[in-house]
Assembly symmetry: C2
Amino acid sequence: MGKNTVLSHFLASHPGARYSISATTRKPRAGEKDGKNYYFYTPEQFGDLLQAGQLLEWAQVYDEYYGTPKAPIQQCLARGEIIVMDLDVQGALAVKKSLPEAVLVFLLPPSLEDLGERMRRRGTECAQAVDRRLAAAKAEISRARDYDYLIVNAEVSRAVAQLISIVEAEKLRVSRQSLILSTLEEGGSIGNC
Amino acid sequence: MGKNTVLSHFLASHPGARYSISATTRKPRAGEKDGKNYYFYTPEQFGDLLQAGQLLEWAQVYDEYYGTPKAPIQQCLARGEIIVMDLDVQGALAVKKSLPEAVLVFLLPPSLEDLGERMRRRGTECAQAVDRRLAAAKAEISRARDYDYLIVNAEVSRAVAQLISIVEAEKLRVSRQSLILSTLEEGGSIGNC
């Protein structure tokens, strides 16, 4: 019922969509491949990307750095692909700043109580950690007004359908279809595109 | 394959959506009912609405006036209903000006050639009228950049599905969901809404 379930169902239903690959300075775990699970960089390489303005967003988690390299995203976008990123509020707003065409969708829990319940049921965290994460979630929700869309994740099939509607609708935005307009104006045919 | 087919399929699939009723000064035809097909007004009544700023858009066609009264639309919106209007470019842009939350969707023909073909097949107009309407269509298309969304009406089932996606996505816009956000922030539950 969580965010990852919604994302994996969405990706399965959209063969043209790709999950964004993050860069990290942490060491690969067993089975992880460079360029598939992550781009594995040294702290120096990561620092160079950062200084060159080649990261759409980045964050430090404990002693390691994580971020989204700009170049592979731009290549995907140029091919007309849909890129899906799973980001916290700070990362999402940073991406929107460098890529104004990005679409920010906030997945809301049906209630904060429900979110705490899910965390406790998962049982991987102590009560204190759950409280801390709930407080963080509440702070993030207060910034949802800076997003484009909100989805209440009460039922996974419904949330996936809503995410699909958003992606399908966004493809039809005038700002993404200037080629179609100029083709028509020049007397061309658009056919079944 | 025309605009009306797309609209009627959309309305059939969305029981919550209503087709907007226009006001007109023309006389009712046999079987037409006031408040159902049109609001039938005298020229004086129409003029009063216009002067009071109570028309979202209006136009003169030959000797008669047509327009969209504001009050019934505002009542529908307050009840959370979806209102569908079928407007020319001038009307659509006028509506957007008074109701910035309006969503403008431009239904494009796959080509101007195809549009001319459809008009000729319908056979209700002479070649000269078809040429005139094609020129008007071309002029309208050039203003599609002021709309929110474009749908290429090449295949009716696809165009209807795209219109449904747009409506579903627009319901999820942050600007239309401030109630959900404040409920969550106050510790409430949103449930399966």
